[in-house]
Symmetry: C2
Subunit: 299 residues, 2 copies
């Protein structure tokens, strides 16, 4: 089944304890698309400027990502600069140049409106609501957000959350949005806000999937050197939604295994800068990493 993703496509300048990279491929929809492409056909809706490198387009094409919904507009591509110091879970934004992304109004191509799976990456909740109005009865809509929107557009964000089948959110954002310090209490508040499932990403501490009557917790793979945490959450979402789209059936068991495949793709994403590791995977790499999670957690 097909997956539609709406989000940012960017050029990132990133500084981590492992080094610095300038103007490398980034953006939530880019990370998501590449990770998801190993599992299911992906349709990317986003915007880039005229300066977006053709080599990047070729990367998406090599992964068979459908770019019909990727607009090219006059001007420059969205730039983001960030650094990570002691806490690899927390980026410090050095600069943001929205450029063509400032006026982004997602238009879902008619041929994409029946996508069975929809991922609303971290963008303005107004735009997320707009996308929800354009799609036709998807099987699952999942959404992400960030502290900025919780601060600035809380009410609109809660309207989005209400319409999601799955909220993907990190631990800090879950606390901020719910107003609860403890994650189990935060998850309950978020479930009460609408979505039948809430996935809380905890970085090096793994992930927990909450449903009204089921909880699944998965530790992260211990990684000695996290090279670049950028995009880990979006790669997670890509593996997660991609696996569900490949399976088709939204069973509790598939949701659990989706958490594992999400963690698999996140573990690849952080092991190199930008999309470097994510673009060169084989099916065997992915299944081997899945087995490592089984070995890590079996008792």
């Amino acid at each position: 089944m097909s997956v539609l993703v709406v989000g940012s496509v960017a050029l990132d300048t990133v500084q981590t304890p492992s080094g610095r990279r300038e103007e490398v491929l980034g953006g939530s929809a880019a990370y998501f698309s590449v990770a998801c492409s190993y599992f299911a056909p992906v349709r990317l809706v986003g915007v880039v400027g005229e300066d977006y490198p053709v080599s990047a387009i070729e990367i998406f094409q090599a992964r068979k990502v459908d770019l019909e919904g990727l607009e090219t507009r006059p001007g420059k591509t969205f730039r983001w600069g960030g650094s990570y110091e002691n806490d690899l879970n927390q980026a410090t934004t050095e600069f943001t140049a929205l450029n063509v992304f400032e006026d982004f109004r997602p238009r879902i191509p008619p041929s994409h409106r029946d996508s069975e799976f929809v991922f609303l990456a971290n963008i303005d909740p107004e735009l997320q609501l707009n996308v929800l109005d354009q799609v036709r009865g998807p099987k699952l809509v999942a959404g992400d957000t960030m502290n900025l929107w919780i601060d600035l557009k809380r009410d609109r964000l809660l309207e989005v959350v209400k319409r999601l089948g799955l909220l993907l959110i990190n631990d800090g954002e879950a606390r901020q949005l719910s107003g609860r310090k403890g994650l189990p209490a935060a998850a309950r508040v978020l479930l009460d806000a609408g979505p039948p499932r809430v996935l809380i990403k905890k970085g090096e501490h793994g992930a927990i999937l909450y449903a009204a009557d089921d909880i699944f917790a998965l530790p992260a793979l211990p990684i000695e050197e996290v090279v670049d945490p950028t995009g880990a959450g979006d790669a997670f979402a890509g593996g997660f939604i991609g696996f569900l789209a490949r399976q088709g059936e939204l069973s509790a068991e598939n949701f659990r295994r989706a958490v594992v495949y999400g963690s698999v793709m996140a573990s690849f994403a952080v092991s190199d800068f930008s999309l470097n590791r994510l673009t060169g995977l084989s099916e065997d790499d992915i299944e081997t990493r899945f087995s490592e999670f089984q070995k890590l957690t079996a008792f």
Copy 2:
């Protein structure tokens, strides 16, 4: 097989978001003994003052804890006062009155020196070394410590660590003792210091068992109300060592399941003040909670 524990027996005054309790039963050896007693015979070596309540002695007796090594000395029992505010993983010490514990010199009764399993709870590394010189060829020695000893007696502590079969330590202490920020790197440094296995306790984020060629990670059970975190680490150790002592064989599989039983006992410990929940368990309570961990983590 028998388990010997050497550690503190105390009266605690504790303030948590759930309330306050004064002069309740506490101490590392007390929590350990009660938790361990559900799995294997326990021998407690420690010291109390003349004011130690007979009702506490009866609790140990009801759990068939061997008290031959529990000295009663003239003076008052060790008192500790602590509070937990926002971060339930971190106690703030309000007061410490060592009393009879100040001159504690563990004497292992001759009949206890052949204990197959030994747990060196968090006490002065000098005393831990002294205990190691008194026991005869145990099958497994496990040890705990705290930030105080890492600060004050680092070299002596490293001598202890070198002689352990298993180091049990929390995440903050693992970082402090190893000088490494990342837990996988910290664990490697600690393994290099001697013990073939290092168990890092991460509170609400679970626990990870590191060996040279094996890693096992277990999430914590999501608990909405942690009533009192005091003694969780010792209850963990009690379930962990107790299970191994019951099984006898130190296989990789048993070590993994020991992490689960440790987590089971810790989850009971934190759900009420003092030893309240730990003392009234049935075998069925424990196996039911074990199944909850299976359900939480299966995929």
